[in-house]
């Protein structure tokens, strides 16, 4: 004999265990780097999680408003000992890294713009694993999306480990996006 209410009124039933602080905005953090897999992860998140433009929802609420997407790229600091050429070489190398980072982020921003989504971009420096987990805490993130195999070519041996580390240590739910299955060549 229940009377169900139509529309967007949130259920007032208290269920154990209830996640605390029912927020209306969902802060998503998408970690990307230079690899294809992380861009695929971003595209996947945009396709599946962000509702498509022009969708009609009940009571005139815009579902897209409730999701805030931040794209983060973590630059690894250059090992100082690897450059015998002096300070100038290190300077230009870090400049190149920064340019690379902004190129990556602008590409990501373009992808978001196609979905009419204003994403925030962020460049961080340091060890990717730690930085991402710290960013999650500092920015009060609700969901971290990270591509599996998300590191560049050089570090591919340690690849799985960034997504792995974040899956274990991040304080928020983690979404690990796998690359699309490659067609097997006979």
């Amino acid at each position: 004999m229940e009377e169900t209410t139509s529309g967007g009124a949130a259920g007032m039933v208290a269920l154990p265990p209830t996640p605390p602080e029912v927020e209306k905005t969902m802060n998503l953090l998408v970690a990307i780097d230079d690899s294809d897999e992380s861009f695929h992860a971003l595209q996947w998140v945009l396709d599946k999680i962000i509702l498509k433009q022009g969708s009609v929802s009940e009571a005139g609420t815009d579902p897209r408003q409730s999701k805030v997407v931040t794209i983060v790229h973590v630059m690894e600091p250059l090992p100082r000992y690897a450059f015998p050429g002096g300070y100038a070489v290190v300077e230009s190398a870090s400049k190149a890294l920064e340019q690379n980072a902004s190129r990556i982020l602008s590409r990501a921003f373009e992808m978001c713009r196609e979905k009419s989504l204003k994403a925030k971009t962020l460049i961080l420096e340091g060890d990717p694993k730690d930085r991402i987990c710290r960013a999650v805490e500092e920015m009060n993130i609700n969901l971290l999306a990270i591509g599996s195999r998300g590191l560049g070519q050089i570090k591919r041996t340690f690849l799985g480990s960034v997504s792995d580390y974040c899956a274990h240590h991040a304080k928020c739910p983690v979404l690990v996006v796998k690359p699309p299955p490659t067609p097997k060549k006979t």
Partner: protein, 196 residues
């Protein structure tokens, strides 16, 4: 009175079909055209067991992906409970193990029924009605990965520390295994620890 029947051959718990009254109510509440009419919804599989963490994961998923308007959600929800086989649950083979097996089996079935009841409660409280519930026997790792294949899921949601008290020693590894071996994206939801 909701009667849950356990089908031993298929290992699926049967819930009574929704009454016509519920169906009528559902039809009248949709006053705007369904935005996803004609579009195939992606499947989201949520793996649950008897632990608090996995119910937290389900609650989190319902809150963030299925509310406030469950009809507009992009996902079709499938809830899978992996029922461990009695032998793995017992863990040791000693004299009298054979006698204990049927009791353990009954206990596990009861736990499975209870888990699904609670999951169903949580879903209906959030007005999410288009849910498939499954109980499959076997190891959680394989069960969840197979469920992903079977339903062609695009996301698998697991709680961290999602296995029961008996396997708690190897806990993190179910979500870990799924994160590496499932053929879809995996969302690992952790219950936040309260810091003092």
């Amino acid at each position: 009175m909701n009667c849950v029947s356990y089908n031993q051959s298929t290992g699926i718990l049967n819930f009574p079909q929704s009454t016509s009254r519920e169906q009528n109510q559902q039809q009248t509440t949709n006053l705007v055209p369904h935005p996803f009419a004609g579009m195939e919804k992606s499947v989201m599989v949520v793996g649950i067991d008897d632990s608090e963490q996995s119910f937290y994961a389900l609650e989190w998923t319902l809150q963030h992906f299925f509310s406030p308007s469950p009809e507009n959600s992009q996902f079709k929800l499938v809830i899978v409970h992996a029922k461990p086989s009695p032998l793995t649950a017992i863990g040791f083979a000693g004299p009298g193990t054979a006698d204990v097996v049927p009791y353990v089996d009954m206990d596990l079935k009861r736990i499975a029924a209870r888990v699904l009841e609670k999951a169903k409660e949580m879903c209906t409280a959030k007005s999410v009605n288009d849910v498939t519930y499954e109980v499959v026997s076997g190891d959680a790792r394989n069960v969840l990965c197979e469920a992903v294949e079977k339903h062609h899921a695009s996301v698998l949601v697991v709680g961290s520390h999602g296995y029961g008290a008996i396997k708690r020693a190897v806990l993190g590894s179910v979500s870990d295994y799924c994160a590496h071996h499932a053929h879809c994206s995996v969302m690992i939801v952790k219950k936040p620890k309260i810091k003092h």
